[in-house]
Symmetry: C2
Subunit: 358 residues, 2 copies
């Protein structure tokens, strides 16, 4: 974690620019790791939040056992950078992708696992891995209350696990769920009991998400947790009560480019900089220097700010800092993140897996 | 507009992938140009929608007089690619940016103009251009009813025009507004009258936007129009009545990766592929093959689809095509767009100005 020998020439007034406070990020990495250690839960952070191998390496250096990716493009970038133990929490589907997954699994030292929620995907994976030197580890994704992907019942989970265990080239590794809800413990407990009855063992029970990470240890049989946003934090994780404003490592520095009326300011950060994600928040980010201000609307390159609740108001040309609603989508919009310490640029990280849409 | 000699090896089943139907795009380019020609309005398309020099060149080949950019990063990419006549419809602010603008203006053959809405920006530009071989053309941005940037009244427009005209290194070029509202004609007419009274001439009156482009000729004194989205079209321009579904050149091909319940499908296109922009629409895109389906929610890599209104329903593994709510933000999320003709890939265009956030 040493600083780079020469400070990069980054003009933090040339906005918009995404900064990561390194002290805050490092404290965030330590805090989640300490929770996992205290509960003997393996830590497998989701790199979708940063898409930067060097940050993944810092997570591993702090104690993580491996990483989580959502796309094969992310896996390729991380493998290339030396990360080895990677779980893909996504149905890998289609001839080209399955072939690519097989090639990635053949990467020297790679230890890949995938999650699936249906038999069609499992069968296609089996076709590709039937002749592989090692079977592909496959987790059954369970929908424990979020209504997205995942098998809907413990019975369906066991049925899919049974099919995976019987398919050549695959190894039934365990269960995966996201996020942790009030339903999760009951669903996992029932599934584990049914698996045992069927003579199947879940070596891994993987929970996920930052907002509910402090509850991971309450899930029966949990062996690992996957959190992403915790590394930077944002308005959504503060709202969830798992971070304070001081734990938000990511800020977008942006300039007030116009003050057309006394109550309105315009920022040079719009939906192409902050994204339109609301995640249940009011407005599109928190302006650190003017917390009463509301970013009421975004156009592509304009943030429209309502200052009516602000006693003090910014001038044209003033640079302000925005804590975003959702860090993961902000990272994905930028070519690079600038690591700062004590307000000075220390490192510029290209968002290596940014273009990884597949 | 000739096809490339060899077809690129693009697997259109390896999703998500953004396709541009070239026949549709070319028809869109011709249609707007025909409108402008019919009304003797210069066409200055906004390249924020595609960020691809080759498409800008096609717009010029069809008759456009120049292009519009929103960021200096876009200007740099377009100048480098041979585009010369560029209007920046954004307050260029801050030492680094003003210096960069001056360097870009010195590019051989460059003809740059900028829009400003306040005197602080105009004065900083004057400082930078006072010694330049040619003055910088400056338009006054007018807020004719949208509540974003722009001077709020005709009187304020004239006051700023007067200041620009008096500043060394600047040339008062005219008026710029976006979009066209019921207020636009009245605002522009009043401003032109006041300018004449002040002895100032607006050589350019520049209107903008795709949804209201058919009204551009009703704005008094209009000389040019800037439309962006028209080149691809999307759900928002169809909703605005200026395009039909058949005029939508951009489609995102995406795979159904899960069918967890009879009423739910999951697409491998989430907010990192489609963006969270709603633009007043219900749902996050129109599935061409299942128009009754609603993309009710996006996570980063998941599109959650409600199929309850669909008689026919897709299987796991099926590839479907999505017309997005807002093309401009989709382009910005992808490294490349694939031009298709008759359903076959003809060209792969890197989104050259994608990383241009400044």
């Amino acid at each position: 974690m040493s600083a780079t020998a020469t400070r990069p020439a980054v003009d933090l007034a040339d906005t918009p620019v995404v900064t990561i406070d390194l002290d805050v990020m490092e404290a965030n990495i330590r805090r989640l790791q300490a929770y996992c250690d205290a509960h003997s839960i393996a830590n497998r952070p989701h790199i979708k939040t940063h898409k930067i191998p060097e940050i993944a390496r810092r997570q591993l250096a702090a104690g993580a056992i491996g990483i989580t990716c959502q796309k094969l493009g992310e896996v390729a970038v991380m493998l290339e950078a030396g990360l080895r133990d990677i779980l893909v929490t996504y149905n890998v589907l289609g001839t080209a992708k399955v072939r690519r997954l097989r090639a990635l699994a053949d990467h020297p030292g790679a230890r890949l696992s995938v999650a699936v929620d249906n038999a069609a995907v499992a069968r296609a994976l089996s076709d590709a891995f039937a002749g592989a030197p090692d079977p592909l580890r496959v987790l059954v994704e369970c929908d424990t209350g979020t209504g997205r992907t995942g098998v809907p019942t413990p019975a369906a989970a066991v049925e899919l696990a049974r099919e995976i265990a019987a398919l050549p080239g695959l190894w039934f590794e365990g269960l995966m769920t996201y996020p942790i809800t009030d339903e999760t413990a009951r669903f996992v407990e029932a599934t584990l009991a049914k698996l045992a009855h069927a003579g199947l063992r879940a070596r891994t029970v993987s929970t996920g998400g930052t907002p509910a990470y402090p509850r991971a240890h309450t899930v029966p049989g949990v062996t690992e947790h996957r959190a992403g946003t915790y590394v930077f934090n944002d308005r959504a994780t503060v709202a969830a009560g798992v971070a304070d404003w001081d734990d938000c490592a990511m800020q977008i520095r942006t300039t007030v480019v116009s003050r057309p009326t006394p109550d309105r300011a315009i920022l040079d950060a719009g939906s192409k900089t902050l994204s339109s994600d609301l995640l249940g928040q009011t407005g599109y980010g928190r302006i650190v220097e003017y917390p009463e201000a509301v970013i009421v609307r975004l156009n592509e390159e304009h943030g429209i700010v309502d200052l009516s609740a602000c006693a003090r108001r910014p001038e044209v040309g003033e640079v302000v800092s925005v804590i975003p609603n959702h860090t993961c989508v902000v990272t994905n919009l930028h070519d690079a993140l600038v690591g700062v310490r004590g307000g000075r640029a220390e490192v510029v990280w290209p968002v290596a897996a940014r273009g990884a849409v597949r």
